[in-house]
Amino acid sequence: MSHTVHRRVPDREDDYVLLLRSSKGINREGAGKKLLQLLERMEPLQPVGYGNPGKGTTLRTSVDEIKKNLDDSSNLHIVFKDTQSARKAVEIAKEMDSGLSATLAGPLDTIRSMAAEMGLKINSLQIDLGTIGKKSFDTATEGILSLCGHMRVSENLIREMRAKVKAGEIDAESAAREIGKVCLCGCFNTHAAGKLLSS
């Protein structure tokens, strides 16, 4: 599944996902240690969250547990809520020169400029040509649904959380975290979802 391509948040610069991974038989040896080093260098940038399908996410597992579980077969998804943090994360990845693949999902023009300014030669891209056909959900619901590319968020949960936010029973950020707990790979952006829930 193309799980981080079709993200549809209105404020594009609110949503970046950095995907770090190795390839079996290519650059896997020592990858776990490198991922941990990269993560620890990026933590001060205050990412919205991070995780890995088999190793846990910050909404479901303790940070210590996630770090302990990182091994050579792991990948790591780190979500940032602004361009400045995403840019610094890419700078760190470039400086550390781990040899692991780094892919950034987000606004295309901004990422292209970022890469050009840092002297990075983009290898490949996957671009979003939109959605065709008849959708039954509204724009804000689509935005929140799209933040979990594995389609683990239910419309009914979004509806319930929106109602609770509207009634003042819960704040939007907490509601977004509750929804994000169903994401197993760490790509859910609670910051962007919180904005959509209160919109």
């Binding site: 981080t4 391509v5 399908p53 891209l125 979003d128 239910s154």
Partner: protein, 229 residues
């Protein structure tokens, strides 16, 4: 998925089901409509049940659906996860697999939200093939087609699957038009993406702009930092 007898009827799980398949029985117990259930496992993984009443089903129906719905779940026959042909932007720098002179298009059926009949994939594949696009589908689907799709499996609901087509950028406007016609006639929705090496994307964007094909201003960009050890 199934609900065991420990259910206390609190109804906390109801909104978490991605397909609205959980319902309350006359005895105030949660139960699952197995036709609607796509085996995504969110009811179990969300830890929302206070008494751990959700359990995985191990029968043939659940095993059929699970690899299309649950992260990392494997098909019981092929032992593979449902995915495309291995063209992956995320590792293409260290492990190049994307074609140098073509684009890889994915038509992701009922994304976002999910929920479609297995036969919808086969119908769309057949129509796109009739139109000359040579689409490939997920691993299990491909096996089933080769072995003959049964009426029973065609009616089963799954979370999602995608068609994959390798093509020249110049052909993208036509396939988008063909797919749109099919999708509109069958009450589906499809999210479309194309992947390629950097030089091919530049060419593709020019083609799409000239043809007036819609592009979202977002992308997944491999920054070229990966390399062989």
């Amino acid at each position: 998925m199934k609900v065991n007898e420990s259910c206390v009827g609190c109804e906390e799980c109801l909104p978490y089901c991605t397909q609205g398949a959980i319902f309350m029985t006359a005895e105030s117990q949660a139960d699952i409509d197995r036709d609607l259930c796509v085996e995504c496992g969110v009811c179990l993984d969300s830890d929302i049940c206070p008494v751990s009443a959700f359990e995985e089903d191990g029968d043939e129906l659940a095993n059929f659906k699970r690899p299309f719905g649950r992260l990392l779940a494997k098909h019981t026959d092929s032992k593979t996860v449902t995915k495309g042909s291995g063209y992956d932007v995320k590792t293409n720098d260290a492990n190049p697999k994307l074609p140098a002179d073509k684009m890889v298009m994915r038509l992701e059926i009922n994304r976002p939200r999910g929920g479609l009949k297995f036969g919808d994939i086969e119908r769309m594949r057949a129509e796109m093939e009739r139109l000359g696009w040579n689409p490939k589908v997920g691993s299990r689907a491909r096996n089933l087609r080769e072995s003959g799709l049964s009426d029973e499996s065609a009616g089963r609901r799954i979370l999602t699957c995608h068609l994959e087509v390798i093509l020249d950028p110049e052909k993208i406007p036509q396939i988008v038009e063909d797919a749109t016609r099919f999708v509109n006639a069958h009450d589906l929705w499809v999210s479309i993406n194309v992947a390629g090496v950097a030089a091919m994307i530049d060419r593709t964007q020019l083609v799409l702009k000239d043809a007036g094909v819609y592009m979202e201003p977002v992308a997944k960009v491999n920054l070229g930092l990966g390399r062989r050890q």
